[in-house]
Every structure is written in structure tokens, then in C-alpha cells.
Amino acid sequence: MKHRPLWWLPATVATLLILSGAIAPLGALLLQSSDSSLSMTLSDPYIIHVIVFSLKQATLSTLLSLILAIPIARALARRSFPGRSLLLRLFGLSLVLPVIVAVYGIVNVYGHDGWLNQLLELLQLPRWGSLYGLQGILLAHVFFNMPLCTRMLLQGIESIPSNNWRLASQLGMSSGMIFRLLEWPAMRSQLCGLISLVFMLCFTSFATVMALGGGPASTTLEVAIFQALRYNFDLQSAGQLALIQLALTCVVLLVNQWFNKPLPSSADSYSSQLRPDRHTLSSKFCDSLLILLGILIYLPPLLAIVISGLNLQLVKDLMHPVLWQACWTSLKIAVSSGLLSLLLAVLMLLTTRHLRIRMQCRLPATLLESCGSIILVLPGVVLSTGLFILLMPWLDVFGVGFYLVILVNALMALPYTLRTLNTPMQLLVQNYDKLCDSLGITGLRRLRVIEWHQLRRPIAIALSLGMILSVGDLGAIAMFGSDQLQTLPYLLYLQLGSYQTQHGAATALILLLLCFFIFWCVEKGLGGQNARDS
């Protein structure tokens, strides 16, 4: 086997970068909050309220999403209809759709002058109340997470072997029995992981609560941290709240790791035709109703983004230099943070794959990788707060805000880029090392001939994922943004806040288009010719 003396170098560089980007701010938080006692903070009824509210809204959001997702997933599993795969694809969009764009759509549908109220008025029914507060937050969280849950649960149902379905047919099982004996066990294996994932997403949700919270009564920890820093100049409280948030996310994440099992590979042979419970009239009726409900929850806000974008005002708003300035800033930040995140992930994995495959040292490799995922417990707002407090005494933080946003966004994307690249990079060593060694392909040549060829597809996915996460981010930019530094989500947030929904239409549309554009460019350009196959 070929000797590789510098195998340790890439991960060392990456780890140093990651740790200085994540641990140093954490240190600053700890130092800042050590001045006064944590128990003082915890005895403040407001802080208690914030903690309770954060947990309450996350619990309710998770419950509601799942209560809707389970029957909808069942209904989708039972039925095949034209547009089903399109609907599932649209459901998949909820993962990458910038939160603030979705919030914009939701305001357009459920807001004061939204579609719902217009419809109610048309029918001469009383208007529905205000969107702001818990109801608005729940609505947005269900909008995001119900489709996610539905897709994953559907995968669970579809992984039930077709033999079981034949058996069920032969035994003439009723719908209820199928649920109890087949579907529930298939879903249950995913449910725990799903619950902790959705809970985590809702617990650390920032943009939704910022835009739809509507006052101190519905503030979450994440927003309270932001407010302590930006509203009150209360560095101590910000530090302490960030630490409380950190502790709570750690707990949730541990639970998540505990339950998170790899998804069962979807059985290709699944066909709803085999199910005995799809022919009764009542199940047909129920399923149609449920699928309609899923569509009614999910589609109107999506449509609202596009439709309200197509008004006469749009042309005028599109001429606005502020919009294009923000668009350009968004693009610059997305490209930089996407590349930085990719670089860190590749450096990290170059070493860990060597450790794991060639040296058979699994534990150190896993430890190094988890160092890259450390950011999962450090929500963007916590990290930004730490950076702010760390750097404030030394320089004009707003002046270097651009670079800080890039850093925070890159670190936030890192767990996902790592996950995307990990398996392909390991497989490459497993499958091609011997070939390379025997043919004497090394160094740059190996990089060009073997690695690039094999990895350009996963690299394209990782990069576009990192860029899209960055393009939609509001947490970091809310902290460091100013009139000098505005990204599209920040601009849209300001427009939503000042109720300029008309002007927001152009911003939301451009932001959405930018996401698709990035995805398309990276996919086409980097993914290569075989991009469509895998």
C-alpha cells in the first residue's frame, strides 16, 4: 500500500477552522454569562415564559404535523392518481424553500387582507382573527413539516414488502387491521426520529417567529437571544439565553441521535394495487378528503408567492436598485459560504476516509466527523451572538458583517455537506485505491482522472445544498445585517414587518427564482452529463 505521509493535514486544517469559528464564540458566550448567576436569569418569569413557550410551540407544531401527516401518508399510499408524483415533489420543496418566502406566502393567504379573509367576506362570513402569535407560528410550522413527515412516513409504508400485502389480501384484512399490523410498525420505526427532527426544527425556528410572533407573548428562545443583543444591548442575558438554548438543543439532538435509524431502502416493487383496503367506498371518500386537505394546507401559500408576484406593481418593484443590490449580496454570500462549506467538508473527509478505510481506525474518524457536525447544536443565532460578543471590543462588527454571515452560513451547512459527501468519498477509496496504486495514478492526476470524475455529482449536490441553505438564511443576516448589508431574506423580512406586502411580492419571487437558478446552475454545470441519472 502506498505511503501517504500527509493524511492528517486536511482535517487538522479544517478542524482548526471549524473550532475557531464555533468554539471561540462559544467561549465568548460562556465568559460573558459567567458574570452573573444563571439562577437569576432562570428566576425571571419572562425567561421562564420564553422557555415554556419555545417548548410548547415546538411540541404543538410537531403533534399537529404528525397528526395530519399520518393519515395523509396512508391516503397517498393507497391511491394513485394523476399528479401524485408532482404533489410529492412539491412536498419535497418544503425542505429547501426559504422560510421567509413561505411566511410571505402564508401572510398572503391567511393575513388580514389575505385570500382566506377575502373568501370569507365573499361568502359573508365573519373574518378570521389575527395571524400573529401562536396560531401563525403553528400554521407556518405545519406548512413546513407536514409535507416532510408525509414523505418520510410514505417511504416507511412503501418499504413494506409486497409479500405482506399479498398475505393481507388473502386474509382479507380490514383497513384498521392493516394499519395496526402492517403500516403502524413500518411507520413507528421512523416516528421517533421524525418527532425529534421536527421538534428540533420548530424549536430552533427563527424566521417564522420573527415574522409572525407579534410581541413578547410569543417569543422563542432563539428570538429572545436576538432581542437581548439587538434590542436591549444586554450582552449578559444574550450569553445566558444562548447557553440555555445550547443545553436544550443538545438534549433534543441526543434524543434525535438515539432514535435516528437509517431509512429503510424503499422497495421498488411497492404498488398500491396490492392493497386490499383501497376498494371500499368509504376509504375512497376518506382518502380523497385527506389528500385534498393536504393540498389545501400546502398549495395556497405556494401559489400565493407566484400569483401575488404577477401584479402590475411588479415591474415597478423590479426596477428598484435595492432589490438587485440585495440579490447580488445574497448571491455573493451564497457562493462564498457554499464553497467554504464544501472546502471544509472535503478537507475533513479526506482525512477521515483515510483513517476509516485505509487505517481501519473507526473511532477517531467518527469523532472528527462529529466535530464537523458540532454546529447542529449551535443554532445560527447562538453562533452569531457568540461571534458578535467575541468581536465587538476589537472591530466594527457591522463593517465585517458580510464575512461573518458567510462563516456562519458555511458552518450551518457543514453537517449537510458532510453527510452528502461522506459515503461517496469512502466508497471511492474502497473501490479505486487498489486500481490507482497498481496503475500508479497519484497526486493531481488521481484527482483529475478518478476523484473528480466520480465525485462531481455528490459535490454538485453538496454545493447546491450549502448555497440554497445560505440563500434562505435569516438568522445570521438579522444579527449582522444593516442598511449596508441586505440579503433578499432580510429585505423580505423588513418588507413583511412594515406590511409592504405589495413590494414583498417582487422580493419573494426573485428569492424563489434565485434558489431554482442556483440549483439548476450547479446541477447542470458541476453535475456533469450524468447528472440526471443518479
Binding site: D44, P45, Y46, H49, V50, F53, H112, D113, S130, Y132, G133, G214, G215, P216, A217, T219, Q227, L229, R230, Y231, N232, F233, F388, M392, P393, L395, D396, V397, F398, G399, S482, D483, G497, S498, Y499, Q500
Partner: protein
């Protein structure tokens, strides 16, 4: 040749840029911030950059976050209630400015913070929708049929004003009053412009603004639909001020601006731009005569505010989340 050289050097010297941090309503209303900036630019041959941040209290927080690295020359939009807190930061310089032309209720002698307008906080309503507006703050707090929007006291000077107003009227019972108000609050936006925009959209029955706000609708929209409710306990008063930063990149230009603030070129823009009372004796438009002037102006001294602000904000925070 020498003349040519001098001329060209004068010409080549880049014009200085005066940076002003202010609230968004000031920077984004064309007749106000931009118009004033243009007048100042012409008179002093410089450039003015208006940086619009949410609202008054945010301005102070922003400057504290930037500390001595701030690039601002002037901050415009703090008020009488924030002066003591602002002084404590040590970021602001004092000025030798002739204050004799000032006419603000209660007089003025602070030379660091120079007033540029004043007004009285009030709840504004649409009289076609709200037929019997409350006659007192107590009635507003106790009535169950009114939905209101008010600004966040942590970011906005009107919000802070309401906080102090409630304490003036309710004293020790402020917490209970806030709890009652919380039940009729639609949302608590971070700035006056956000709040007023939402109110005009019809989100609430009343919004926290100024007694002078209806003048805008009278003069610009020729309607008296919008009225400010006259409360019998009196109205809390606000004097808006501007100040020069110690580390201002252009200290001389900044002093010039503070002096310019008290000239008619600036003051005449106040009634019909910011819809507030000017602080020097310039002629008021007719619409202002239709506005009720509060029988009683309420206020705390800057020291009292500084002593209690944080505690009262915390109390408000706790009360409205009960």
C-alpha cells in the same frame, strides 16, 4: 496658473460625507429626511448619507453595539426619555450652540442633545369605524371591545413613551394595566412606521401615535376620518433630539448640521414632514389648529427614566406574557 491650481484643487477635493443615523420614517419620507439632506448639502457643499434604522431606541442600541467604531457623525431620533441613558455611554459630544431660539414646553438647556421637534403621544383611531372612542387611558385599558397596536418599548420611542405614560397614570398598578392591554393587543411591532402601516391597513381599531398624526390625513388626504383620542389623564410628551458623536469623522460638519436643525430651512419641514410640532417659532399650517392640544402634558425627568427604564421594560415583558 496659481489660480487654476487652487481652483482645480478645490474642485478635486472630494466632498465630505455627513453620516446621519435616524429612524426609518425620517429617512424614507421624501419631504422630510431627503429634502432636508438636500438643503444641507447645497448650503455646506457636502454629501449627506441618511442611514434609516428601525426606531429611536434601536438607534441607541445600534450605537452601543458599534461603540467607538461607529461611522456615524450625527444620530437623529433619540428623545428626552433616552438622554440620560445616551449620556452614560460616553459616545456623545457637547456643543456650543445658541439655544435661545428654542421654544419647547418646559425649556431646554442640554447642549449635547439638541431638540428638533416635539409632540404628544396619543392613540389614533378611524372615527368611521370606532364610534365611541375611549375618553381616558383608564377607559382604553378597561374596555374589552377595542383592538390596539403599539410599538415595542425596547426598540421604539413611542413604545417607550407608552410605557412611561402607563407608569405616570397607574404607578404601582402598571403591571395589571399591561395585562389588560395585552388582551386587546394585535401585535407589538418594532417601529412607529410598521405600527402605523398596519393600523392603516385595518389590522386594529387604535394605534399608538401622536396627537398631530391626524394633520397628515387632513392635509394630504383631505379627510378628518382619523382622529387622536383625547385622554383626560393628560398625554405623555416627547421631545425628539439629535446629537453629535464624539468620534464623528466630520465633527465640524456635524456641528453645522446641529445648528442648521434650528434654522427655518429644517424647522419648516417638521409640521408637514414629520407631523410634529417644530421647536422654533415657525408658522404652523392651518390643519394644526384643528388638533386638540392636551390639557396636561406628562413627563418624567431623564434621570427618573434612566433609573427605571430597564426595570419597567422587564416588568412590561413579564406582564404581557402572563
Amino acid at each position: 496658473m496659481a489660480i487654476l491650481l487652487v481652483a482645480s484643487s478645490v474642485h478635486a477635493a472630494p466632498a465630505k460625507t455627513l453620516t446621519i443615523y435616524t429612524y426609518s420614517a425620517f429617512s424614507s419620507t421624501p419631504e422630510l429626511g431627503p429634502a432636508i439632506a438636500k438643503a444641507f448639502e447645497q448650503k455646506y457643499h457636502c454629501k449627506v448619507k441618511l442611514v434609516g434604522l428601525d426606531d429611536g431606541v434601536s438607534l441607541l442600541n445600534r450605537l452601543r453595539l458599534e461603540g467607538k467604531h461607529s461611522r456615524a457623525d450625527i444620530v437623529l431620533g433619540l428623545d428626552n426619555n433616552l438622554i440620560s441613558a445616551a449620556e452614560k455611554t460616553g459616545l456623545f459630544a457637547s456643543n456650543d450652540i445658541n439655544l435661545s431660539k428654542l421654544s419647547v414646553p418646559g425649556g431646554w438647556n442640554n447642549t449635547s442633545f439638541i431638540p428638533y421637534d416635539y409632540g404628544y403621544f396619543a392613540f389614533v383611531y378611524n372615527q368611521q369605524k370606532l364610534k365611541n372612542p375611549p375618553r381616558s387611558l383608564k377607559e382604553l385599558v378597561e374596555r374589552k371591545d377595542i383592538k390596539i397596536i403599539y410599538e415595542d418599548p425596547r426598540t421604539s420611542t413611542p413604545g417607550l413613551g407608552l410605557l412611561l405614560w402607563i407608569h405616570k397614570v397607574y404607578g404601582d398598578k402598571a403591571s395589571q394595566a399591561w395585562q389588560q392591554l395585552a388582551q386587546k393587543t394585535i401585535t407589538v411591532p418594532k417601529s412607529w412606521s410598521d405600527a402605523y402601516g398596519m393600523f392603516l391597513k385595518g389590522e386594529s381599531d387604535m394605534v399608538l401615535s401622536y396627537t398631530t398624526s391626524p394633520a397628515y390625513h387632513i392635509m394630504m388626504e383631505h379627510t378628518d376620518t382619523y382622529q387622536a383620542a383625547d385622554f383626560k389623564e393628560g398625554h405623555y410628551m416627547q421631545i425628539e433630539v439629535a446629537a453629535r458623536l464624539k468620534n464623528a469623522p466630520n465633527p465640524e460638519l456635524a456641528k453645522d448640521f446641529l445648528r442648521f436643525m434650528l434654522t427655518p430651512a429644517f424647522q419648516e419641514r417638521i409640521p408637514t414632514g414629520n407631523w410634529m410640532y417644530p421647536v422654533t417659532r415657525v408658522k404652523l399650517p392651518k390643519a394644526f389648529n384643528q388638533l386638540p392640544v392636551p390639557a396636561k402634558a406628562l413627563s418624567y425627568s431623564p434621570q427618573e427614566v434612566a433609573k427605571n427604564r430597564q426595570a419597567w421594560v422587564r416588568q412590561w415583558r413579564s406582564a404581557v406574557t402572563q
